[in-house]
Amino acid sequence: MSMPPMHDLIALLIVIPLVAGLLSLAVINSRFWSRAIGVSSIVLTLGLALGLLLQLTAQGGAVLVSEMGDWKAPFGIVLVYDSLSGILITAAMVAALAAYLHSFSSLDPNVERRYFHPLLQFLLVGVNLSFATGDLFNLFVGYEVMLMASYALLTIGSGKAQLRQAYKYVLLNVLAGTMLLMSAGMTYGMFGTLNMADLARIICEIEADPSRQLPAGFTALSVMMLLVFAVKGAFFPLWFWLPDTYYTLPIAIGGLFGGLLTKVGVYTIVRLFPGVFASDGMGGSSEVIAVVLAVAAGITMFLGVLGAVSQHRVRKILAVHVISQVGYMAAGIAVAVWVDRGAVLEGQVTGRTIAAFAIGGCVFHMVHNIIVKCALFLCCGLMEKHAGTDDLDKLGGLLKRDVFLAVLLFISAMSLVGFPPLSGFGGKIVIIQAGWSNLWVLSIVGLLTGALTLLSMLKIWSYGFWNPDQAPVARQPSHVKATNRPAYLGVAILVAVALFLGFGSEAVYEIAFNAGDQIADRTAYIQAVLGPEGIAHLDGPALADPAAMTQPATPPTTQPAEVLP
């Protein structure tokens, strides 16, 4: 009985929710125990994720690796916990906690007892696995866990509105999943490995050595990959499954989905594309990928926000907004892929490359979005509690009914719009600034999108909170506040975090930029996973010198693996 080393605790991020899911399956008949188990599991996972994140940030952005089954990469599966995964998992857990609390007061018992608690836990398993895994095929498995849970949650309670739309979500995602499966297999066929770090190593080596060439069909493969993750991330023109379904969900689940699921797709693109599947090597794919991403990003941003402004139900406005926000992230990645990865940013004291800068902004924006989008959905849930509808025609006078909610919603809305210094601001300006020098069109579109976002949020605020109370709608008795404490607590948590992201963004930015640097230059990641010698024969000063072996970026995973007697 001995405490495992810190980096092996990563696995618990996946196992804890899974065990919790099993337990709540066992106690399925007791609502109290299900909820207790659920909350404690999420809190535990959140604590663990946060602890590990602070730990590795203290080490200057270390990369923690855990080798499943004690088999070295690339032969076994590794779980990797670096700044990128860490900050996203942490944010995801916060959102999950809030949404789960919200569900206590907003979810109908008839829905709740249809395996809501286990399904939610399994969803988190899938999300965390997708964020943490370092293996391409395992990523597919993580996706499937997440998707399966999301299918079930999507149709939970099987209301007519849900069933009218659910099949689109399921079918499009099944198609994407199959394509992911195939492209993972083909990646193995091309490179003989499935480990992301190993893949990055091979591709970087080919890139560094002009005499070698990437295998035939590499570009086509990366395009296929991009399609898969763009479907999951709801880029143009692959977002259809999202706006049709999200507004039909029970609001707590809607908030979780709106916050989380698309970000997993975006995360995967960040993880896999710059420098790996979007490579500048001979027969590389970066040109194609960059153009596709840039176009998709621009249209996604703008068309998405147009759709949002035009909607007339709060749920739909928010649901469609998810898309346009994803556009910003796509823009960040597009910039990172577009520019020459060596190019250093003008007018910045830090000699950070544009690519790293853009990715950092993208990561920050992801975190901000997970939190704020979830908060807005949950606020919408409370508005419905008050008004019995989310139809802007029928809403009104909520400011008189519930000032606290008004404050919460206004802060979240302004954060989404990106008013300084609220959380949306940080990511937006970094992405726009990174765009100016090379993809200035995206920057312009981003600014316009911001304006329309403002308009849509003003719609919600003005019609929902300021306009006179619409008489005919049947109102719930106004003891909403008293009966929905958990919901308010959940929203309050999110808003507090959002405010921290805004006013304390410096701390978050350190992590985000660490992630950006490690994506723009994969050496640290590769060395952490494959061991210091993993990339030794790839020339370049940072890699050649043995000092690289002892840099903090390589956790103590290189100690000889002990074998059981």
């Binding site: 495992p4 196992v15 899974l18 399956l25 089954g69 907003s106 109908d108 309670g157 099987s158 059981l564």
Partner: protein, 164 residues
Amino acid sequence: MSSMLLRTAMRLLFPLTLLFGVYMTIKGHNEPGGGFIGGLILATALALYRMAAGPGSLWDIIPVHPRVLVTVGLGFATLTALGPMLLGLPVLTSWTGDVPLPFGESVHLATALVFDLGVVFVVIGVSIGMITRLSEECEDLDDPTPLSDDSAEADRAAGEGGAA
């Protein structure tokens, strides 16, 4: 469908199939077979048995909700996952070795077998659960007595899903 013939056939075949399934599971580590195959064989056998012996007959063999099987199976897998952690090893680290048998013989075993056992349980639980659930729906079609349509209740349940 559940004709006399099928029922007698099942009575003969059923035990054999079960045995075969177990055998496939055990030897899976060294020869073709393994948890999935074994579990599937068992599940198929049970499914056919239900077809033959009619609704409710499965309850005599597995007197628990399939949910329990799934939980137990995943529980086994989780044990093999978490066990090594207590010893300070990475998750899912397996152990293999020769376990001496009373007759001086020794059999080569691996903790992975426990994992496989979990797989078997999950596969059985899932297949049985789905098949019985769906075939019950079919039986409801034949059954004249009225059903309380769940869609109304479902809509109320999903009420806020629909709240427009």
